[in-house]
Amino acid sequence: MLADEIFSLLAQVPDPEIPVISLTELGIVREVREGATPEVVITPTYSGCPASLVIQQSIRAALDEAGLGHVGIRTELSPAWTTDWISAPGREKLLAYGIAPPETAEGRLKRLDEAPAICPQCRSPNTREISRFGSTPCKALWRCLDCAEPFDRFKCL
């Protein structure tokens, strides 16, 4: 199946900003449409994410290398991407890389606001937000009050 082949191919393509996680783990590869002109359907994380173009280029390069140059790439906005689509292995990899993964929708529903992040260094929940806007559109800046390390947190969207 072409779709399976392409999904396993894109599972090897890293996100340009957070290279420890792949495009499929990030949840931005929506589907592969088979047919006369097959297409990979992707969706952006943030509207203005500067990595969007690089991501398309990485996908194109991976397809070309696999001899799938005829496969198109289409961007679709709806339904809007949510951090809930980041896979469980993807979340583990974010944490190991030093980025606190986003809460899932289930955890969020119980509160008006996000719970304190778990520090990726010492795993303490005694943390505080420094800035809701961080080094990339998808991250906020937090600090651990126990080990004093600052860290990025993937924002819930």
Partner: protein, 224 residues
């Protein structure tokens, strides 16, 4: 088409205004926040103008009278408090507007509104928090926040012109709640200034375009 230009131009012009803060904001965290909000708006502009036609050509090749953004977004940054007033008034409006558009008939616009609406929630919260902090801060910060709101207030009516009149009660309620928390009175009633939606702009838009369009005007079709 007209509606897409309004939505796209609002985002493009305010995104450009916010980019002027880059490297100049009061703290590093605020610098990051304003740049990030500007980036989100630039993404919105790309989506809306991309639906209207060639987004780059629309951004770089139109003259001021062809822009359909509201007058609020082209106003100079002023001090940080004025920027916050402009941002709160605009983002609170956009949040409500996008919720309506996301449920609307036009599927393309609905998709952008649903996507961008989630980001706008962050923008409105950021601006509301600073409005409260400045309004409920020192005598100086309170004075500046009041001045900033007074400057922007005359451009608010335009947001609710035409089809958008029904959004006003919800916006008023949101603004009143944040002002109450900040301990600030509502700005005095003024005669609203409009015209942006018809291409009649304040002098500031021309200056923005001179800066923003220079390269494409001087070297047409130049690419990176």
């Amino acid at each position: 088409m007209e509606n897409l230009l309004r939505l796209g131009d609002d985002a493009l012009i305010l995104g450009h205004r916010l980019s002027e803060w880059c490297g100049h904001a009061p703290t590093l965290e605020v610098d990051l926040a304003l740049a990030n909000i500007g980036l989100d708006l630039l993404g919105q502009a790309q989506f809306f103008l991309g639906l209207a036609g060639d987004a780059d050509a629309l951004a770089y090749r139109r003259d001021a009278f062809e822009f359909k953004n509201c007058l609020l977004v082209e106003q100079p940054n002023g001090d940080f408090a004025r920027t916050i007033a402009r941002q709160f008034f605009f983002s609170a409006w956009q949040e409500i507007l996008f919720r309506h558009l996301a449920a609307g008939d036009d599927k393309n616009i609905a998709a952008i509104a649903a996507k961008a609406g989630k980001e706008v929630t962050y923008h409105a919260r950021f601006a509301a928090e600073w409005l409260v902090r400045l309004g409920d801060g020192t005598e100086e910060s309170r004075r500046r926040m009041t001045d900033g709101m007074d400057w922007c207030w005359r451009f608010v009516d335009e947001l609710f012109a035409d089809d958008n009149a029904s959004l006003r009660p919800e916006w008023d309620a949101r603004v009143d709640a944040v002002l109450a928390e900040a301990g600030l009175p509502r700005p005095a009633k003024v005669r609203g200034i409009t015209g942006g939606r018809d291409g009649k702009h304040t002098e500031h838009l021309g200056h923005i375009l001179a800066d923003m369009q220079f390269l494409q005007r001087a070297y047409p079709d130049a690419v990176w």
